[in-house]
């Protein structure tokens, strides 16, 4: 499965979340109209392997999609954590996302990292491990 297809399949799944939040994708400047809370996406590639030396067989790609919940400061941690939880629920372990380009499997329950303050933002990162074939 091509990396572009993996990103597209995972982004499409994220877009079906309810309630929906604005999503800031990689290589995109944040529009002035985008207000918190919003989600920022980063695709992180870990490895890409083809099992045989002759180049035959399916190439598998492992990595994770990091979705950052960007929320307002001074609202306590709850609202951002609630959104992070709903992202994790939307990408359960063993979820299979299939289309003509291949299959993306969520390998484990998404990892919700410690929150951190960043300027005027409160950020909570959710990492979603995947294997694509």
């Amino acid at each position: 499965m091509r990396e572009a297809d993996i990103s597209r399949v995972l982004r499409a799944r994220l877009k079906t979340m309810t309630p929906a939040y604005p999503i800031l994708y990689e290589n995109q400047d944040k529009p002035d109209t985008m207000t918190r809370p919003y989600l920022a996406v980063q695709m992180v590639r870990v490895s890409r392997r083809t099992p045989s030396m002759n180049g035959q067989g399916e190439t598998s790609s492992r990595g994770f999609m990091q979705v950052t919940v960007v929320a307002d400061l001074d609202q306590f941690a709850g609202p951002a954590e609630t959104i992070a939880d709903s992202i994790a629920v939307h990408f359960p372990k063993a979820l299979r996302l299939t289309d003509a380009s291949g299959k993306v499997t969520i390998l484990d329950a998404p990892n919700i990292l410690p929150a951190m303050r960043d300027g005027a933002d409160w950020r909570v990162n959710v990492q979603i491990d995947f294997l694509a074939i």
Partner: protein, 131 residues
């Protein structure tokens, strides 16, 4: 003198544990060496590289603490004393460690820890082939 069957089994057991220790210790070291591979910081003229630790003032790379031992090479000491069943803890204690790892509104995450930690099974498979 021929060894008894029990003694031979004991030898195999010792060899198996020794091999397990070798694979585990080497694979952990592979993770740490990959995570501690320096990449010149962008502020020092370097380029953005994921999976490597950025080094500008070296505060981050030198903040590694391995099982209570501080220093950029502390992981080698901790791993040297490792045995099967032990738990090793590694931490980067610089205040900017988490923002560098996961990113901020101004920079993307380097993921120098998570990318390499997730490669652990790959390192185990590679080391297992050596025994």
């Amino acid at each position: 003198m021929t060894k008894s069957f029990t003694a031979q089994l004991k030898d195999i057991e010792k060899m198996t544990v020794k091999n397990m220790r070798y694979v585990a210790a080497e694979a952990i070291q592979d993770v740490m060496e990959a995570a501690m591979t320096p990449s010149r910081g962008v502020t020092k003229g370097g380029t953005f590289e994921q999976g490597k630790i950025p080094v500008a003032e070296a505060e981050l790379i030198n903040s590694l603490t391995s099982d209570g031992i501080k220093g950029a090479k502390s992981y080698t000491v901790a791993i040297a004393g490792f045995d099967i069943g032990d738990t090793l803890k590694f931490a980067w204690t610089a205040p900017h460690a988490l923002p560098v790892e996961v990113g901020t509104s101004k920079m993307q995450g380097r993921h120098f820890v998570s990318i390499n930690a997730k490669r652990f099974p790959e390192f185990v498979a590679k080391r297992a082939k050596e025994i």
